[in-house]
């Protein structure tokens, strides 16, 4: 086995030191009945060429990854990844280190996390961000749990119905063991696709714990976040925004500025490939007054013995390895290497570049919508959208099949998630799409009419 260095001589010498005759002596204390059936019935080890052939063949079967022009979004996005991101995240100094418990040997990781935290606060307009979470959905669930710790007497969690179904379900799973918490869903306005503010108002009251709203929402709609936050805060509750397309934060007003208390989201758009859904990277930002209730790791600034600036994990008394059953969360490792990818990505894009790219996505998405409209395919909602939009196509299954024959993955049919959107398709457009694709898309979707 090419990963093992032990020669027969090594093994002999080590066994002699220990005072054992053979390797199996070392496990002789494991009950014989368990050892008897422990053999692993898998094929013998393969060499690199064999593994590459086997996995290469499996990868090649995923024709959806490369053989189509894609308009898939709905929580995972196709963006160009600068070569710098891969070059840095492939560095073994980053990839093969672990949680920076020894700051003197981890200044690369800790400084990068400090930069990640800073950029997340800048994008969200909030005061403190953690070192990352698993993904946008679990970060949203953790935000609700955090809100519960901030306002433990309140019991009603209001989830926008225009949040991604995965996010809503994840919140429900995380809350399933908490007693006395009621989850209500707030409808969206069928005309605009944005939250029905009056409906939220009816659910707001002294029991309201928090309101969670997508920004943009699952239809790509830019929600009236300021109004939602104001209404929520007037009720004494906590306003939470969830963002699955974080590129939007490069252009849209930051959630913190609009009154949001906790901003969470998915950072996959920032330099991570779609990878069939993971790993991405969750982010979470909040106000300093709620710092002690925040889950996850935090890196802070400090100094070494000689006063030189240094970084280290801090405020660990919130965390499971210190606080055990009274911790703010059970989260241990986060998605550090993915947070590093996002940090490199954002450093590359920078202050102007991120805004330009976000703008470019808006412009291209609207050109695509115009191309579809010209072919008679109308957008379903009339509120402003970022880089995704919903169109009515009649029979989505037939439309998707036509598009597939034309070499297009036209979008995501929404009827399975929202029955009233049975004829709707969510089309996602990024800088990876071109004008000629918009025309092909329009042709394919209109083809059945």
């Amino acid at each position: 086995m090419r990963f093992f260095a032990h020669t027969e001589r090594d093994v002999r010498a080590m066994l002699d030191t220990i005072g054992a005759r053979c390797l199996d002596d070392l496990i002789a204390h494991v009950p014989a009945s368990l050892r008897a059936g422990a053999a692993i019935n898998l094929a013998p080890g393969k060499n690199e060429a064999e593994i590459a052939a086997e996995l290469g063949a499996l990868a090649a079967q995923n024709t959806g990854a490369s053989a189509f022009s894609s308009f898939l979004g709905f929580g995972a996005y196709r963006h160009h990844i600068p070569a710098a991101v891969r070059a840095i995240t492939a560095r073994a100094e980053f990839a093969t280190s672990y949680t920076p418990y020894q700051p003197e040997a981890s200044q690369g990781t800790t400084e990068a996390i400090f930069e990640f935290q800073t950029m997340i606060t800048q994008l969200t307009g909030l005061e403190v961000a953690n070192a990352s979470m698993y993904d946008g959905a679990s970060a949203t669930a953790e935000a609700v749990l955090m809100a519960h710790r901030v306002a433990p007497k309140r019991t009603r969690v209001a989830l926008s119905r225009a949040l991604w179904p995965d996010y809503r379900e994840t919140v429900r799973t995380y809350l399933s063991a908490l007693e006395n918490i009621e989850v209500v869903e707030v409808p969206f306005d069928p005309q605009s696709g944005a939250i029905d503010i009056a409906a939220l108002e009816r659910r707001a009251g002294e029991r309201l714990l928090c309101a969670v709203i997508g920004y943009p929402n699952a239809f790509g709609i830019v929600e009236p976040l300021g109004e939602v936050a104001a209404l929520t805060r007037r009720a004494g509750a906590i306003a939470v925004s969830a963002t699955a397309e974080p590129l939007a934060l490069g252009l849209l007003k930051p959630p913190g500025e609009l009154g949001v208390d906790i901003a969470v989201g998915e950072g996959q758009s920032f330099g991570l490939a779609a990878q069939f859904g993971g790993p991405g990277v969750g982010f979470m930002a909040a106000r300093m007054e709620n710092l002690r209730q925040m889950p996850g790791r935090l890196v802070g600034e400090t100094h070494d013995r000689f006063g030189r600036r240094a970084w280290c994990l801090t405020l660990a008394t919130r965390e499971q390895h210190i606080r055990r059953e009274r911790a703010t969360s059970n989260i241990c490792t986060n998605h550090s290497l993915c947070a590093l990818a996002a940090t490199v990505y954002l450093a590359m894009m920078g202050r102007r570049g991120l805004r330009e790219l976000a703008s470019r996505n808006v412009e291209l998405a609207h050109r695509a919508a115009d191309a579809l409209a010209a072919a008679g395919i109308r957008t379903r909602f009339d509120a402003p959208f970022f880089n995704e939009f919903v169109v009515n196509v009649g029979d989505p299954a037939a439309a998707l099949a036509r598009a597939e024959r034309a070499g297009l993955l036209a979008g995501v049919a929404l009827g399975g998630y929202w029955p009233e959107l049975g004829s709707a398709l969510l089309v996602s457009v990024t800088e990876m799409n071109t004008q000629s694709e918009f025309e092909r898309l329009a042709g394919a979707l209109a083809g059945g009419r």
């Binding site: 390797l23 898998l42 063949a57 093969t96 063991a177 911790a327 991120l354 330009e356």
Partner: protein, 517 residues
């Protein structure tokens, strides 16, 4: 200020003891070439590493489309750097890290083994990396097939019946397993709200229990360091949903009464949750399924060699026996005439704990690792890991005795008398190891051992590496007696000296701000 005064006096002590050390030259106040300014400090207005395609002439811009009321004016303070600056920044940062690829990294319970580089190459194949999670199943058959093969392999390795690859990490796998235990009892009409956890458990175990709505009951391990069936029987009641136990436990010893414990639990209708954090000791040695485990979570970044990434991403699959299968997170893999598909038809499922299908990129790496070792290679891995731990333990015995007399599995927990003899703490020993180019073991864990050093050498380190670690530990022991200040003020040879962690918590500075002096 008080903090600065303390710092200055610490500095004086250090300088006097470090006169023999070459690194004291840098420490004496010369500009330190090894520190890296923050991105924000290297920025200049107008620089950019972005190359966004320009808007077509006459095309309205985004602010005009959305209306300026929705748009921000600026991202205040955001970095502005060229691509070469960004590259140099992060490459220099990388040089400040220890990593398993560079250093011996015997961090106990973390299984810092070699991460085969082929695995990263496989995960980067465009058919995997570029696959969108909403791709229709018939165009993603290879990915689903890979997941099915990995599920089957993990079921075989653990001796369990069904596997979900859904959880994002070990801790999320724990939560998944515990929510399943809750759902299982609920379905049977029993309200069981307690989970027994040994005093040696990882912190994630009790934290996961709380999150899953359980009250923690702590079981005491005996003087030899393991759990007795009698203790579990004493704690069992109709309120107990499960015992959550790591095997080998965090002392690195195999729980010899595990089968009897499982029997006791099952007799009272409770479940055995086996935390697979230490699975690297068990490959081809003993299967959790045969121990009587009902639920096991695995950490692919440990046993199955996916890179730890400075703290994730990992993956925490959950394996269960047949009677718990209905409660696994959905969607699960299903198969019909058209091939693999995602199956949502599991009405008793606990639901999802994250978006999409799991940390697929890590699943590819783990599967590639399993293919490389095969059944026999996996069994060999555990045996070599156990060999290494026992070898290190034996060689260090004269200076750092084991916390237990039981045989070690894949890791050993040692202790020492330097605190008493020389005022040198476990933390000091750990910091001094850094000067030898060795990442310290896990320290002060498990909590039941005073000043613990938890050492997990793994199967991929050479005997020479283990010997040099032993030599470093012996040297530190001697230094602690002859020159304790040298150890107490370590490290001396890195870019930074001892970092003041308490200061960071006293006045938290958690982001850079442009207005800060």
């Amino acid at each position: 200020m008080a903090a600065e005064g303390k710092m200055a006096s610490a500095g004086r002590i250090a300088r006097s003891t470090e006169e023999a050390e070459p690194s004291s030259v840098a420490a004496a106040g010369a500009p330190d070439v090894r520190s890296v300014p923050l991105l924000f400090e290297e920025s200049a207005a107008g620089r950019s590493g972005a190359d966004v395609a320009a808007r077509a002439i006459g095309e309205p811009d985004a602010a005009a489309i959305l209306g300026t009321g929705l748009c921000r004016d600026d991202i205040t303070g955001f970095p502005e750097l060229s691509e070469p600056q960004v590259m140099r920044h992060f490459l220099r940062l990388s040089q400040l890290n220890f990593g398993q690829a560079f250093q011996f990294y015997p961090l106990g319970s973390c299984t810092m083994k070699y991460n085969p580089v082929l695995n990263d190459e496989m995960a980067a194949l465009s058919g995997f990396a570029g696959l969108h999670p909403m791709t229709p199943a018939h165009l993603a058959q290879g990915a689903l097939e890979l997941m099915a093969r990995l599920e089957a392999a993990l079921a075989e390795i653990t001796g369990m019946d069904a596997v979900s690859l859904h959880p994002a990490a070990g801790a999320q796998g724990e939560l998944t397993g515990l929510l399943m235990a809750r759902a299982y009892h609920h379905k049977r009409g029993a309200a069981r709200h307690k989970v027994i956890i040994p005093d040696t458990a990882h912190g994630t175990n009790p934290a996961s229990c709380t999150l899953a709505g359980f009250e923690v009951v702590v079981a005491k391990s005996n003087r030899r360091g393991f759990l007795e069936a009698a203790e579990i029987r004493r704690l069992l009641s109709d309120e107990v949903a499960a015992l959550m136990v790591t095997n080998p436990n965090t002392l690195g010893i195999f729980e010899p009464e595990i089968a009897a414990i499982a029997g006791a639990l099952h007799e009272r209708g409770a479940l055995l949750y086996l935390d697979g954090a230490n699975m690297n000791a068990l490959l081809g040695v003993a299967k959790p399924g045969h121990m009587g485990a009902d639920i096991v979570q695995l950490n692919l970044h440990k046993t199955f060699a996916t890179p730890h990434g400075g703290g994730g991403p990992g993956a925490g699959p959950v394996a269960v026996k047949k009677h718990l299968e209905p409660f696994l997170p959905a969607p699960r893999l299903g198969r019909d005439a058209g091939g693999w598909r995602l199956d949502y038809g599991w009405p008793d499922s606990i639901g999802r704990l994250r978006a999409f299908q799991g940390n697929f990129g890590m699943l590819v790496r783990a599967y590639s690792f399993i293919l490389a070792l095969g059944g026999n290679g996996l069994a060999e891995a555990s045996r070599f890991a156990i060999l290494a731990a026992n070898y290190v333990r034996k060689r260090l015995e004269p200076h750092y005795p084991s916390a237990t007399r039981e045989p070690s599995m894949h890791e050993c927990v040692l202790t020492h008398d330097l605190e008493k003899r020389a005022g040198v703490s476990t933390l000091d020993i750990a910091k001094r190891l850094l000067d030898f180019g060795i990442h310290p073991p896990t320290i002060y864990f498990p909590l039941v051992v005073h000043g613990a050093l938890m050492i997990e050498p793994t199967e991929t380190e050479t005997r020479e590496t283990l010997d040099s670690f032993v030599a470093a530990m012996e040297k530190i022991y001697d230094e602690a007696l002859s020159n304790p200040e040298m150890v107490r003020t370590a490290p001396h040879t890195l870019a930074l000296s001892r970092v003041d962690e308490a200061h960071a918590a006293r006045r938290p500075v958690l982001r850079w701000q442009p207005t800060r002096a």
